[in-house]
Symmetry: C2
């Protein structure tokens, strides 16, 4: 059942040595790196009839309003499948959409550089990714600042260190001090040398896409043919809501789906701003945009892996700011899950909040969105650790706090043992009315690993806590960040792989990377 402890089916042995799965690395005790499974039914927030109404409305949007697809090659694929084209506008027949998307797989393996860290996507599998794409970064020592490579590298290390984080969701923070012409080369090199978990690439034009594919191919030491058969990279495709697929995003689908890589098709449909003010309306639009993107992946290559991404939230109607972890966000997250399951697609949601501080708000908004994602049947939870300020900021401390929340979720997802010994009838009889269980053999045999040991929660009594200076959770986090960075262990990258990667980056940087106009 735990496919992570065994080589994936059809995965040939690699030159790289496989690291054993350990229940804890250096530093604080951790949950083990483990593929998680949801062993209960996800929550349905609408009836089957209501779900069909949203499905039909989305198809009506695609056939009557249509969607602007800015890349001519993508429009040509739609045209070839019978879509009506009018300038950039593509209108899709409902039956065509339904038929085309039916070839998308409901479950697949995303291969990591370290095969022990492959992740299974879809079905009842659950995986967590770290924060991605924040322009700002902060820690308590130096405050909030622009994203840069040093922080980027540190956050990649933290994402590698914490076992509850299964994969990268993107650049945890934008390394803005790297010039855009070569940023993807250095950043991807950093990720592949500092970490061995499954990776993302941004869809930023053909050349960058090809560079990233080649670097992942080198890291995995596979042929191009094998890479094309084994999803090894994922890219998040955001439509420009409402109803537009721009050139880099269209090209991303063309390039990555052609190579059998994973598209995570995620409209960002903010109810009241770029989508209707009603949740049903915003999700109708989300669904139309998602289905168009999913259809394109299957027109490129039937069977190409694709994930249905939901990212509908609401604006604060006072300020126009996006809000996260709201009741509306959760309803939309659960509704998105129902739609993804209707289409037999893996589902992606997020752990998000709009707090400026690591305070109670950050705690409850993150928890609410995390529970919404999990109960809504998300297979991938992105921005799982480190997201603050509505995604504008990656926070070292929040990453550690969230790693604790994800570990709690992992523990919650572990099946509750109901074997004869778990029922503890003998211990109950032995203790009897009025006794206690501290000293029983049943307790002694199990207490060390019986309960989740949190990193952050302070369970001391008030007096001890007060004597210690009344620390809040926030006060404890900087020490935990340092401890995690200190105990970070780099992955064992064979020398030949490291050299080949470095050579590639040197060569491409020497060529000037990708032409930019600045």
């Amino acid at each position: 059942m735990d496919q992570m402890t065994e080589p994936g089916e059809g995965t040939p042995r690699r030159r790289r040595g496989r690291r054993p799965v350990r229940s804890q690395d250096a530093g604080s005790p951790q949950v083990p790196f483990r593929q998680l499974r949801r062993h209960f039914e996800p929550t349905a927030v609408v009836s089957d009839d209501e779900l069909e109404a949203i499905h039909r409305a989305s198809l009506a949007v695609l056939s009557t309003v249509g969607i602007d697809v800015l890349a001519p090659e993508a429009r040509a694929l739609f045209a070839g499948a019978g879509a009506s084209i009018d300038g950039d506008r593509v209108r899709l027949d409902p039956e065509m959409v339904t038929e085309v998307i039916s070839t998308a797989p409901s479950e697949f393996t995303l291969h990591a550089p370290n095969p022990n860290k492959n992740v299974r996507i879809g079905g009842d599998n659950v995986v967590f990714g770290a924060v991605a794409s924040a322009p700002f970064v902060s820690d308590s020592a130096e405050g909030r600042r622009n994203g840069n490579r040093e922080d980027f590298r540190n956050l990649v290390k933290l994402s590698q260190h914490f076992n509850a984080i299964h994969m990268h969701g993107g650049y945890p923070v934008e390394p803005a001090d790297l010039h855009p012409s070569v940023r993807h080369l250095h950043a991807t090199h950093d990720i592949l040398t500092l970490s061995d978990k499954a990776v993302n690439a941004y869809s930023l034009g053909r050349q960058r896409n090809r560079d990233c594919l080649e670097m992942v191919r080198i890291a995995r030491q596979v042929t191009n043919e094998q890479l094309d058969d084994e999803p090894s990279i994922h890219t998040v495709i955001n439509s420009s809501s409402p109803l537009r697929l721009d050139v880099p995003m269209s090209l991303g689908i063309l390039e990555y789906s052609r190579r059998g890589q994973v598209i995570i098709m995620t409209p960002f449909t903010l109810a009241g701003a770029m989508a209707p003010v009603t949740i049903a309306g915003a999700v109708t639009q989300q669904n139309a945009e998602a289905l168009a993107g999913v259809a394109l992946t299957q027109l490129v290559r039937p069977g190409a892996p694709v994930v249905y991404g939901g990212f509908t939230s609401n604006v604060d109607m006072k300020s126009g700011s996006p809000a996260f972890g709201t009741p509306e966000f959760i309803k939309a997250a659960m509704l998105g899950g129902q739609l993804a399951r209707r289409y037999g697609l893996p589902y992606r949601s997020s752990n998000v909040n709009a707090s400026n501080a690591i305070d109670a708000q950050a705690g409850y908004e993150s928890s609410f969105s995390l529970w919404g994602a999990l109960m809504g049947g998300a297979n991938i939870v992105f921005h799982g650790a480190g997201w603050l300020e509505g995604g504008l900021r990656a926070s070292y401390e929040k990453l550690v706090l969230d790693a604790d929340l994800l570990s709690m979720m992992q523990t919650f997802l572990e099946p509750l043992g109901v074997e004869v010994e778990d029922l503890a009838l003998d211990a109950i009889g032995e203790v009897g009315p009025g006794g206690h269980f501290f000293g029983t053999q049943h307790t002694q045999d199990r207490y060390r690993n019986a309960f989740y040991q949190p990193m952050v929660s302070d369970w001391r009594n008030f007096e001890s806590w007060q004597e210690a200076g009344s620390p809040s959770a926030h006060d404890k986090l900087p020490g935990l960040v340092r401890e995690a960075l200190d105990s970070y262990v780099p992955p064992q990258l064979p020398e030949n792989v490291a050299a080949e990667l470095a050579d590639f980056v040197d060569r491409r940087v020497g060529e000037g990377g990708v032409a930019t106009d600045f």
Copy 2:
């Protein structure tokens, strides 16, 4: 469907004027006072077979180990039903237990002094109660102190003020400056004059129980016969785990069930301390204790309303302190719900945390326990607002924060509208690719009430937030507490009722209340 806006079935008109349901009282906008319904399936954390294993193990505990029942009258009732009695020890035949508990109702109405605030308990109904029984109290102005009547009264006012709080769960804080001989008289008088929501009484011996029943009868202006037919008071019965029902608790069941009032049978089974270290074992013991108590209610009066209470958590094995909001707590909460539904009983869980501060820990532990309760099918969530420090402390500020969380939950529980206008096809067509929805008629018609407006969450952008002094959620709370207390509106208690209540309290206080030995 919203039974709160109509007089309850079989509820005769009262002399008291019915206050209209308003979407907001004075002060910040609020959700309306409304009976909530869970419109999705609760989460099952074990299979049906595993559930049966726990059920059978619990019955085995009751038949082999048995339970100590310290009140002779209670033992006599068990004996009359065929139980084997050995000193205090009562052993119950499995078939007998199953048969006896079958008369308990799965759903009933708890009558409040104001019939508009009656609450429906069981089925898919959900109601929230405020913090109860804390020995300490705190606010940010004066810090942590012993419970006292002034704080007690203020917390009752806050519980009355916030519409998301449906009922009282007990004394929010112990008014320790009132002598125990008369405390129940003054405290219950305070609750009945400062609030019109459904009330609790503590089970602290015959005389106190009778005094509380009489005061609630006066407040509702009903006859004793009508009171006996209309549950109007609830009392939480905690077994002394493991496997003991002490005299005041046994008498509470005898007194209140005889009068048709609501027993909330809640073992406090702390895994690793007063219960086995495994969650399955701790819940097996919880279930044994709960079933014994439920059986006693039905032996007293078949059909008496009773709620299955789950309160299994784990100790911190380092310090021995109880932990709350943990993965183990959530699994136990969901498992308790499965057992309650198996027996056709309403289910009670809690919103709890072990934090000493209103920080991220308080935010995530509370959110985790609240989600565990809700997804686990809890019909009553106690300690819903204000609980801190593992229940040792009632916090003004935490009460306001939690009122916000409960309001978010209420909004989440409101059905997602999927009518034709909600799907917004016209608006999507009108805006088209690349536009925005701010100005559309569809948005303009709905934006004021489209989304939940939080009290606490700060959604300003970083710059505005920093200019305002970088306030955390905690910093905002004292102002919200003052605002809520300032806008508190006392219930409209008719003069004759107020006089009758005052006379009763004066007389009973004059008689010395209840004899104590100190």
